[in-house]
């Protein structure tokens, strides 16, 4: 199966799961499950930033259109995460190791480093998402609490799904 076809299928699958299951889940004000962030993390380490951003844009627009939130929120934050993803990989991984790595993962990065990488990715996404959603710092502590709780939840969810479905059996 060609890589592009694989990405398109993954795109559709993750989008469907996010829209049909996680968007309908009411976990309260403080928890907004967004495991779709895994989509960008799964691309190969050497994938070009430009293409990453285009994927992120398409995914974000799809999510904004079909979900019930306000437009542009997911798009904007997901594109930013795509723009920074490759730099984040370089920050996290030991220099020189990158050449023999295919995709980001527990085995390739090591558990701690991969966890840290996911944390940074989700952090960039959530910073923009929750700032734009509240559009003001009027209720700063409230927004901050939502940001923090969702951050922890989503880092957990992304790691969980990565481990459960996208990790090669050793």
């Amino acid at each position: 199966m060609s890589d592009t076809l694989k990405y398109v299928l993954r795109f559709l699958l993750i989008m469907a799961i996010q829209l049909l299951f996680f968007e309908g889940l009411n976990l309260g004000t403080y928890l907004y499950p967004m495991p779709y962030l895994l989509f960008l993390i799964l691309f190969p380490c050497t994938y070009s930033t430009a293409w990453l951003m285009l994927w992120a844009f398409a995914f974000g627009v799809g999510l904004d259109l079909l979900g019930t939130g306000i437009m542009g929120l997911h798009t904007s934050s997901f594109v930013l995460m795509a723009a920074l993803r490759n730099s984040l990989i370089k920050t996290v991984v030991v220099k020189g190791d990158l050449d023999n790595m295919s995709v980001p993962g527990f085995v390739q990065f090591g558990n701690v480093r991969f966890g840290f990488f996911v944390l940074l990715c989700v952090l960039t996404h959530h910073l923009i998402y929750f700032t734009l959603e509240s559009m003001s710092f009027f209720l700063f502590w409230h927004t901050f609490a939502r940001f923090l709780c969702s951050l922890l939840l989503n880092v957990f969810l992304v790691l969980l799904f990565k481990r459960a479905f996208y990790e090669k059996r050793r």
Binding site: G28, S48, I70, G72, A83
Partner: protein, 278 residues
């Protein structure tokens, strides 16, 4: 692309990033974009079917509470019916009375098939649409108070901007004094909303009832919304009251769309006034 010098490539990537972000911001600012999209209609229909199935399960688990609510509602309605039919006898004797009765509200019952309470901009979707007489800008109430206002309508479904949406506000008044103010949600808790712009000389007590306003074109007057929990002076000029809602948006199931037979005419009237001013 890989033959470009490194710096140029980085600049191009930055440019692409800026273009995509600009696209996102345009979407964010221009919210009406998604009303114009016709592809959405098909996709929404699939989604609705799925959500309808999901919602029927949650409804089943909430059945006990819903029944309780319905019983209460029945009692209330029966009392009201008795009162009103007595009134109607008196009123229909005069021409003025006949006109008043025809210029009233009617209700379209609907079922909530999708609802959220945890976002800052919550929306509700119901299973009635244009085919059932639902139009945009109609109000929606439940047996425990106001729910929101219709934003978009398809043939068999309608989308409601929930009261729990930080961008939406309604007019409401204190039952005791008749003072009206703006009712809006601050995005914090799904049982608490704020009633602001109440003049500071107004006395209020904890537990005072807040009802829908007499000036509202979308809701019948006097629908109970919630009770006052506390109040504080904002910017030294107006009181802001914290109102605890009677309705629990999490278990919302049966709602009524309010159609006001005089609304269109009244809107036309206010529109001509605006044109005159301009």
């Amino acid at each position: 692309m890989y033959n470009f010098p490194l710096l140029l490539r980085k600049l191009l990537i930055l440019l692409l990033f800026l273009v995509l972000q600009a696209g996102a911001v345009i979407l964010l600012v221009n919210n009406s974009y998604f009303q114009q999209n016709t592809i959405l209609r098909t996709v929404r229909t699939w989604q609705m079917n799925w959500w309808e199935k999901r919602s029927s399960w949650t409804a089943f688990t909430n059945l006990r509470f819903t029944n309780n609510d319905l019983a209460l509602e029945n009692t209330r309605l029966r009392t009201e019916l008795a009162k009103l039919s007595a009134l109607e006898n008196v009123l229909t004797e005069t021409e003025e009375g006949k006109r008043m009765i025809s210029d009233s509200f009617s209700f379209i019952p609907a079922l909530v098939i999708r609802n959220s309470v945890s976002r800052q901009h919550n929306h509700i979707i119901i299973n009635k649409g244009t085919a059932d007489g639902v139009r945009p800008d109609m109000g929606v109430i439940s047996d425990r108070g106001i729910v929101g206002v219709i934003s978009h309508v398809s043939d068999h479904y309608a989308m409601i901007i929930s009261l729990l949406n930080t961008e939406q506000s309604f007019t409401a008044e204190l039952l005791k004094t008749g003072t009206f103010g703006t009712l809006h949600w601050d995005g914090v808790h799904y049982r608490k909303v704020l009633l602001s712009e109440i003049p500071q000389h107004i006395n209020f007590n904890k537990g005072d009832t807040v009802v829908s306003s007499h000036f509202s074109l979308i809701f019948p007057p006097g629908i109970p919304i919630g009770s006052v929990k506390s109040g504080s002076l904002k910017r030294g000029t107006f009181l802001e009251l914290e109102v605890e809602l009677f309705s629990d948006f999490k278990t919302l199931r049966y709602v009524n769309v309010v159609s006001h037979s005089g609304a269109e005419e009244l809107n036309r009237l206010t529109d001509t006034e605006k044109e005159d001013v301009l």
